[in-house]
């Protein structure tokens, strides 16, 4: 295995393992700022916490291209401490109760990480009907090892955030698959970082100014994208995302959304956006010409920052390029590193050819 294989994987691992549920993206932002320092002309953090970094092109007739990836991940917020020291919680972002029971979590109190487990009644004590039904989130609790409210209160408080505690794993044939808690959307963040590092100084675009927006709170209503798009006021936007796919055995081909290993997925339409058709066609043509693997998202599902960006101000020509990701919004998101790499290649190719 060459070291090149691990270079981008290391970056994605670092980003995915960092604590950053919606509204609590500081650690992720800190990591990103350290990674892009020296690789842009200007970098600002706006009032919501979005990072906006700018690389200016060489030409005199420059248009603005915004590249957006969100920093936040789905997570939890502690809502109440029970007498017995267990914690009740709410989810931050959309989560399926099926992927919660038994998971390790990290709770961030005012100074450090407290480990916990999302627990529910053990199988031995479940009634027959309970064994067939999904445990609702209201019946789950987080165990941090405290046995009284007082003890628990010294460790955390209502309002504290939590995320999954899940190791980053590289696996599968030829080590092409990755598993992590926050591939959505730290892969997008990694992609933006890598593109910045490759373009700055040596490969500046001609007639484009590039705005790299690392947004906050995507998972709870796409808030960050609203202010970022307003401030940047771009002519174009490419949203770099992850999209939930169902390319698993037994699912009809038509419902698989996209397939791991077949390249980044370009969206025509999803639950939030009808993407700009000419821009979409341009991207698809560019991929074909450059022989970069790319697929079209097949199913109307999901949504992303594009939902706000494309209707910001006078409207923005927007496309979305997503890494097909299995088991999205769980502790074990699974993606293919080659998809990430083809997305990076396509993004660079688009930057080189734009504006169209």
């Amino acid at each position: 295995m060459n070291t090149e294989h691990f270079h981008d994987l290391n970056l994605i691992e670092k980003l995915s393992n960092t604590f950053g549920p919606s509204g609590c993206e500081d650690s992720v932002a800190g990591l990103i700022l350290s990674q892009i320092s020296g690789f842009c002309d200007e970098v600002t953090t706006d009032k919501l916490g979005n990072i906006i970094a700018v690389i200016r092109g060489k030409g005199s007739q420059r248009q603005k291209l915004m590249l957006a990836a969100h920093m936040d991940e789905v997570g939890f917020m502690i809502s109440y401490i029970e007498d017995d020291g267990t914690l009740k919680f709410n989810t931050v972002g959309g989560m399926d109760p099926r992927v919660l029971c038994g998971r390790r979590v990290h709770i961030l109190n005012s100074s450090r990480i407290i480990p916990g487990i999302i627990a529910a009644k053990p199988i031995h004590l479940q009634k027959k009907e309970e064994r067939k039904e999904v445990t609702p989130i209201e019946k789950m609790y987080i165990d941090i090892g405290a046995s009284t409210r007082e003890e628990a209160a010294t460790l955390c408080s209502p309002g504290d955030y939590a995320t999954f505690d899940s190791e980053f794993v590289i696996f599968g044939e030829n080590l092409q698959r990755i598993k992590g808690k926050a591939l959505d959307d730290r892969m997008g963040c990694a992609l933006l970082i890598e593109v910045m590092r490759e373009i700055y100084d040596e490969n500046l675009p001609d007639n484009l100014d590039l705005y790299f927006a690392f947004t906050v709170r995507e998972e709870v209503g796409l808030s960050g994208a609203v202010t970022a798009a307003y401030a940047i006021s771009p002519d174009y936007c490419i949203v770099l995302e992850s999209t939930a796919v169902a390319d698993i055995d037994g699912v009809p081909e038509s419902k698989r959304v996209a397939r791991l290993g077949e390249g980044g997925a370009l969206s025509l339409i999803d639950n939030g956006t009808i993407y700009h058709r000419d821009f979409f066609d341009f991207a698809l043509k560019c991929a074909k010409e450059m022989n970069i693997k790319c697929q079209i998202k097949q199913y109307i599902s999901g949504g992303n920052d594009g939902a706000h960006i494309h209707k910001s101000k006078s409207g923005i020509k927007t496309i979305a390029l997503s890494a097909p990701t299995r088991y999205l919004h769980s502790s074990c998101c699974v993606a293919d590193i080659n998809d990430y790499r083809t997305m990076r290649q396509l993004t660079q190719a688009l930057i080189a050819k734009m504006p169209f």
Partner: protein, 343 residues
């Protein structure tokens, strides 16, 4: 003295799905054999460790701690590198979607259990848990390559990972019943032949999770005078009935049951009191749900008692046990092994 945390962490990482307990046998023996005089196996794969008292006529004490853990077996190799499985022992599918597993084929493979994305969920069926037969394990391999590594019947276990909680809890898979294996070994290791009042057979019994097999067979050929079964017990939880659970962190629990021997049980409680070891009792009227149920009926009957370590999240990959409870259980066992049961 044995470092219980290290011992249990090592034990937890061993693959011991019921019926496949031999998989990590060499590592198991290297962990435990140094503390015993002899070792033997039997026809159902029980690992039996022997420690002798100075007095050859001392009664024979069987300590039974089952060593197997729940898991899965591969039933089919599907397209795109997915595996379907069946359960070995009581597997709770509540914890399976998007869970991590290890597949013990010709190579060890990492896998993730599938979960249905939101757009495919039938709102009517959305409350239904998947059946074990509906679970798919994503290996990231092509079917062709996967077929060379994995076959029907290959065992699958929860992904081994150890972590900790505040309050001295260790978290991982298979702590049912390796927490008790750690307690037993830790209790016996420092005892010398002079202090022992019994000849000891420690049976790391097999196939408990699928029907108390090793416990039954072991008790028959060991033919002990007394038996103590060490197994985990359900720890108190917010939604669990108090009378069926024990308090984690409050020391070992002693079972009060029609199945177990009253004199031996009272002796254990007495030793706990005298040595000031915190303990608790749990009422398990007609069944302890442990190997004791079969050991007590072996041959002409064996006076048997059950001592338990409280365990949170039983049969999950995040079972949590108080290291202090294990230590206290070990102390209690040591007290028992160095004292005689009153006639």
């Amino acid at each position: 003295m044995i470092n219980i945390k290290e011992m249990l962490s090592s034990l937890s990482s061993l693959m011991s799905v019921s019926g496949f307990e031999r998989y990590d046998k060499d590592r198991l023996l290297s962990l435990i054999s140094p503390y015993f005089d002899a070792y033997r196996e039997d026809a159902v794969g029980n690992f039996i460790f022997i420690k002798k008292a100075n007095n050859e006529d001392a009664p024979l004490m069987l300590i039974d701690t089952h060593y197997d853990e729940i898991g899965m077996l591969v039933t089919d190799i599907k397209d795109n590198g997915f595996l379907s499985v069946t359960n070995v022992g009581g597997l709770d599918t509540r914890i399976m979607p998007a869970a991590e597993v290890t597949i013990y084929g010709k190579e060890m493979l990492f896998g993730v259990v599938d979960s249905t994305p939101p757009h495919l969920k039938d709102p009517k069926a959305s409350k239904k848990l998947p059946k074990v037969s509906e679970l798919l394990i994503d290996t990231g391999y092509t079917k062709e390559t996967l077929s060379k590594i994995v076959s029907i019947g290959t065992p699958v276990s929860f992904y081994p990972r150890i972590s900790e909680l505040e309050g001295g809890y260790l978290v991982g898979k298979g702590l049912d019943n390796k927490a008790c294996v750690a307690a037993a070994v830790s209790a016996i290791a420092p005892l010398n032949a002079d202090s022992l009042r019994y000849n000891i057979c420690l049976n790391l019994s097999t196939r408990e999770e699928i029907g108390l097999v090793g416990g039954k067979v072991g008790a028959y050929h060991i033919d002990p005078d007394y038996a103590i079964v060490l197994d985990v017990n359900l720890a108190a939880a917010p939604d669990a009935p108090k009378h069926r659970t024990v308090k984690p962190g409050a020391g070992p629990s002693v079972s009060l049951s029609a199945v177990t021997d009253r004199a031996l049980t009272h002796h254990i409680i007495d030793r706990a009191k005298r040595a000031e070891i915190p303990y608790q009792t749990v009422v398990e009227t007609v069944s302890t749900g442990t190997n004791a149920d079969v050991i007590a009926l072996s041959r002409c009957g064996v006076p048997t008692a059950v001592v338990s370590v409280p365990l949170k999240g039983m049969h999950t990959y995040t079972e949590a046990v108080s290291l202090d409870d294990i230590e206290k259980t070990a102390r209690l066992l040591r007290e028992i092994l160095t004292s005689e049961v009153p006639k």
